[in-house]
Assembly symmetry: C2
Homo-oligomer: 398 residues x 2
Amino acid sequence: MGEPRRGLSRRALLTSGSVGAAGVVVGAAGASAAAHEPPAADPGLRTVPFRGTHQAGVVTPPQDHGVLVAYDLLDGVDADALRRLFAIWTDDVERLTAGRAGLADTEPELALRPSGLTVTLAVGPGAVEAAGVDVPSWLGPLPDFTVDRLEGRWSEGDLLLQICSDDELVVSHALRLLTKEARTFTTVRWVQRGFRGPLGRDRTPRNLMGQVDGTANPRPADHDALVWRSSTTTPEGPAWLDGGTTMVVRRIRMELDTWDEIDRTARERTIGRRLDDGRPLTGGRLEDDPDLDAVDANGLEVIDPFAHVRRARTDDRRQRILRRPYNYDDPPPPGELTDAGLVFVSFQADLEAQFVPLQRRLAELDLLNQWTTPIGSAVFAVLPGARRGEQLGQSLLT
Amino acid sequence: MGEPRRGLSRRALLTSGSVGAAGVVVGAAGASAAAHEPPAADPGLRTVPFRGTHQAGVVTPPQDHGVLVAYDLLDGVDADALRRLFAIWTDDVERLTAGRAGLADTEPELALRPSGLTVTLAVGPGAVEAAGVDVPSWLGPLPDFTVDRLEGRWSEGDLLLQICSDDELVVSHALRLLTKEARTFTTVRWVQRGFRGPLGRDRTPRNLMGQVDGTANPRPADHDALVWRSSTTTPEGPAWLDGGTTMVVRRIRMELDTWDEIDRTARERTIGRRLDDGRPLTGGRLEDDPDLDAVDANGLEVIDPFAHVRRARTDDRRQRILRRPYNYDDPPPPGELTDAGLVFVSFQADLEAQFVPLQRRLAELDLLNQWTTPIGSAVFAVLPGARRGEQLGQSLLT
């Protein structure tokens, strides 16, 4: 296993807690320590540990590039076949994330600079069924939301890999190797590539609408309560998903051409935050909650009743989710200027208690709905991590 | 104009020559100095000068991300209309590359961290005609090569912008703003996005086939003789292109699935270089020329007669070109594993004397042709730079 890098001192390592458990602490400490450290080691050699209670790529600070690939299982793929596939993938992912070539790697040189590579495996209802296990009721299409204009080519899937790295060539290489390894078991259902870039991992990450985005994420101290499934967060089980989480992937097209037509005041009113620095319209710091009760000199609410921050926010702290989105910007179809938006990704221990109520509030009355259109949607179960000697998916396939 | 950054000391600036002339020296010095400098300044604030004799983005060391967008002119766009469009673009590009928002910028916050942004303007035959100027004979489709399988959706165009930055969000923002500004004059013909990533700007840049690529580029001392048009390199004119260059854009699909079927020995024989470090099979350093006359113990040529390095190489030093390619890796069509390859970009003062003979040698007999397919092709004239007080395209539109 390679050493954690990105300007991370021994001291930061020693004081940051359980390094190596899940790759989480390393990334987080690395990001915040970078500004204060002597010249960083080669960032291409940075590794995020693969082994641990949880998979990497969930609470890992987002890398610059990500791809989500959904597979459909071929007919006849059963629990034994899944076990073989997951064994191959476990070995590949352990090697690739450590900066070593996979055993069947035809371009081994492309594996040597992982640049923070993580690969996260999740299952859809089809794979759970193939494993011969009861499919949890929430693992399937989300409830219909009135704003949805879903297309099959961006929705659902039996298996999912999320592959992220600061180097897009590394993402391409891992995607190709892992997809080749799976070709006797699967077909590719969809591929969604995205980017954040240095701007996106800045303290004020922005999306293509220019908005500061994703600042309200749960802090590391809340991950056990909000992200990871356990006998505490989800006592009803299933037990095979303890240590895992639930994952929502939604492709949200941004209607940038009409968004352009409204002015900054209208945009800020839509969001409820200032565009220049992302602070709530009611003041305070970027990370502060907006004051939803504040009124202006005329007695009107400062934060519009239908503003995105009001609808996205909840007083129930247990309803928060971990957002980990990527931007997409594809070549536009003929006659249009842009085909861009957000590959929205969220993780939450309990899909029905955390994600669905939030999404319902947004779907009903969020002002931002006028300029965004969900065109793809899928729900997956992120398997627990593979500890030393274990394989991914082991708990599902016993 | 912003200050050049990326760990660039005052001393490096003072000793690196004519900083500010064309953005070239800054980028080059910054890249090589980075390893020896104290903690780098914020790389998001790095700027490449816009003003100069030559446009930036040609001999500028390649940024991590690039997009090429080709436009077709709407009916009725004449020299006056082009002058207006180029005036708007000049102003936008000067602002954006300096880290300032464009005048009509609807997301000004996305302009503030240019991350080495360059925007390069080039014209195809349609724009030259619209300007009322004779179209040079070489400015049009390349000669037919037997290997070509060209598709209209990746070929030709009246105008081209090449937009490059280390931050993909910056590329998206600039693409969007500049395309919007042009919409009363143009329609988008094609968009090709690509990436190099940190691996790609390493001293051993690699493509998706795992090959070390682009090591044989002319050195800065050769740029005046090989890249830039002038009364010395191209005495026949046209004069409006002095200070500019010619640009070839070819979309080359890599047949990675069949490439996978051959072993490393066959791959190295195809290329004529070692896969692990890119050195010629005849030994020496990465940057050394292969010894084309070397024979092995059996008296056979070490470099295959049809190896890529032999066919791509020329004894005529004046035939060299400046390659500035980007990788692409798009979602595959149904039933296929990959849709990946190279957005090949080259610059050369004299297209017919430098590019065409090289391409002919490759098209005939290059072993690599079995695993690559050109599916798009376009030729453009890169206009000279805009010096202080000038507009892009001024020499064409007088």
